[in-house]
């Protein structure tokens, strides 16, 4: 197994991320700080999706909804002058978890194409809910009046502070994922992906485990959403649009599904690719779309899979 190569890539990536604020400051290119921050937040989102999709085999096409719930929680709290991050963030995590309980309980009754469609539809419902919330900006979204306050601990209105907060949040999420997938719970989750009938036959009621994973993933995405609201200083329904859910799936796959740090590499690669392509042409998706199709048809195993022979289970 190419585990060593994988680890060195990941270490390299994190070292790179760690020094970006320095580089951005020296070269006076705050744009890169912004881009890297966005990369890391979406990495957390992709990591959370990877838990259920990569390790659980559950293709959720509505994961952006939980990012949206997290972001809206922060935005709506701020709108009502509740700015303490100590309240906002846990609330964002709890609420997205609650949504995941309900949505998961509905969609996990089904499998396959049904599951994909239902997660997609429920997420789109959240999008339309966002659009119809006129009080909170409706279609246009809502500027975040004030970033979450962590007084007297840290001040994330400072962009560098926010950057490192996100950096450590990502490291923590990665560590959390690692513990989770290798734990007893993680083994059950992977067993159910591999062979659900067998799991039932040896005595695992898989539904409960899958729902739990779904909720954990939802909460993690909600956390990413809380970060995203602070990053963009803005919330809008677009965060929950189904194409955002599609982006998350692509990130997970680009990095190699079911590999631990794959989603991080995938998210970085995705945003970098978007940046590069949109620099080449305004119509960058004209290139990206076919690229996606070709990648599906011909390259399997994702970017990290490129460097290791780790087998990937599909479908």
């Amino acid at each position: 197994m190419g585990n060593k190569t994988q680890i060195s890539i990941v270490v390299f990536v994190f070292l790179g991320l760690a020094i970006i604020p320095l580089v951005a400051q020296m070269t006076d290119t705050p744009f890169y700080l912004d881009l890297a921050r966005r990369m890391m937040i979406l990495s957390i989102g992709a990591l959370s999706l990877n838990l259920i999709m990569g390790y659980g085999g559950l293709i959720s096409f509505g994961h952006a909804a939980y990012i949206g719930v997290g972001a809206y929680t922060v935005g709506i709290c701020a709108e009502h002058d509740l700015v303490s991050g100590f309240i906002q963030w846990p609330l964002a995590i709890i609420l997205s978890g609650l949504f995941a309980v309900v949505f998961g309980a509905i969609s996990l009754r089904t499998r396959g194409v049904y599951f994909i469609m239902i997660t997609l539809a429920l997420a789109q419902m959240m999008y339309f809910l966002g659009v119809s919330l006129d009080r909170y900006g409706g279609d246009d979204g809502l500027p975040l009046i004030e970033r979450s306050s962590f007084e007297p601990l840290i001040d994330i209105t400072n962009n560098i502070v926010l950057y490192y907060l996100i950096f450590f949040a990502l490291l923590f999420s990665l560590f959390l994922s690692k513990r989770l997938v290798n734990s007893r719970f993680g083994m059950v989750l992977q067993g159910a992906r591999s062979n659900e009938t067998r799991m039932k036959a040896i005595g695992f009621p898989t539904f409960g485990y899958q729902l739990t994973a779904f909720v954990i993933a939802g909460m993690m995405a909600g956390f990413a959403g809380a970060l995203l609201a602070n990053h963009t200083d803005f919330i809008n329904p677009d965060m929950m649009h189904w194409t955002r859910s599609g982006d998350l799936i692509i990130m997970v796959l680009l990095g190699g599904m079911g590999s631990l740090a794959g989603p991080v590499v995938g998210a970085l690669a995705f945003l970098l690719l978007e940046e590069l392509l949109s620099g080449v042409t305004e119509y960058w998706q004209l290139i990206f779309g076919p690229f996606l199709i070709l990648a599906v048809l011909f390259a399997r195993g994702g970017l990290l899979g490129f460097f290791s022979a780790k087998e990937r289970e599909n479908g």
């Binding site: 194409v113 539809a121 429920l122 339309f128 599909n314």
Partner: protein, 307 residues
């Protein structure tokens, strides 16, 4: 109070929207059912159908010509896509299918933006389709009547095709038990190309007809696709009958929700709260319905799969 005229008018609109959904759902539910294939790009065919029809209408001045030209164009495109991109994916997992068809959406959306610009096209209605017919003193727009007529006609044709012909028998058998059909020595791939092409043409018809009512814009395909997915989930994957019933339900409930929910809410909520809540709930209504149906019948109302 809700007055009877408005109620009837909206019922009429719901019916028309439902039939539009049916045109899209009929083809797609068979694609899902027969090949166990996840195809997100169906909405793109609908969008392209609308754009082609609109463009031809603008060139020739004939809306009818636009509609009838967009069908073969999209049919051809559908067959090319099926043979070129989708066929290698049948044996793959759903994830690969999702991804590849997602890539198709990105491509087609951008393609449309490149060719027709970001703003969308207005499709003018020909003279003879403008105006209203009066039924019991209620004015019904001619064009919507035509859409309803076309929708019902197509529904009837599909019904006849599926129930009365040999091909239809194969399609039905394929949706309920694919292995069985293959074991009988039928080339299921050819059945599928046929179904896919037919589905593409129906999507184009829906798009072309929708042009003058809804806006011809870039996002139109995805917007309606999700509603179509809800229809399919409610009706049961692979079931034409389910698609029809689901489409009618969703069409009417969606329109009613948007028109009457605030009136309804005002019965027991303060006016202010009702006016805030109604649009939010209305936009969620069909999804709540879907969740409800799934709770009682996870395989939809008319499950086609038998094993």
């Amino acid at each position: 109070m809700i007055d009877a005229t408005l109620l009837f008018e909206q019922l009429f609109n719901g019916l028309q929207f439902g039939l539009l959904l049916f045109l899209l759902a009929a083809g797609l539910t068979l694609v899902f059912g027969i090949m166990d294939m996840m195809n997100l790009a169906h909405g793109s065919l609908y969008m392209l159908g609308a754009y082609v029809a609109a463009q031809v209408t603008l060139w020739t001045g004939s809306f009818v010509l636009g509609v009838f030209l967009s069908l073969p164009v999209i049919l051809f495109l559908g067959i090319v896509l099926e043979a070129g991109v989708l066929r290698p994916l049948y044996a793959r997992g759903h994830l690969d299918q999702v991804l590849a068809t997602f890539g198709m959406i990105l491509f087609f959306n951008e393609f449309v933006r490149l060719v027709w610009g970001p703003d969308g096209i207005e499709v003018p209605l020909p003279e003879f389709l403008q105006g209203n017919v009066s039924l019991f003193g209620i004015p019904l727009p001619n064009y919507r009547l035509v859409v309803i007529g076309m929708g019902l006609l197509v529904a009837l044709l599909i019904y006849l095709l599926v129930t009365k012909t040999r091909t239809g028998m194969l399609i039905r058998a394929g949706a309920s038990n694919r292995e069985m059909v293959e074991a009988l020595g039928v080339d299921i791939n050819r059945v599928f190309t046929l179904v896919f092409g037919l589905g593409a043409a129906l999507a184009a018809l829906a798009g072309a007809l929708a042009g003058p009512i809804l806006a011809v814009t870039i996002g139109m395909g995805e917007h309606i696709l999700i509603q179509v997915l809800v229809v399919i989930v409610i009706g049961g994957i692979g079931s034409i009958r389910g698609a029809f019933v689901g489409a009618m339900l969703i069409g009417i409930i969606d329109i009613f929700g948007r028109s009457f929910l605030d009136t309804f809410f005002k019965f027991f909520l303060p006016v202010n709260a009702a006016e805030t809540a109604a649009p939010a709930v209305a936009s969620m209504l069909i999804y709540i319905l879907m969740a409800g149906v799934l709770f009682f019948r996870p395989q939809g109302l008319f499950p086609a799969k038998t094993g």
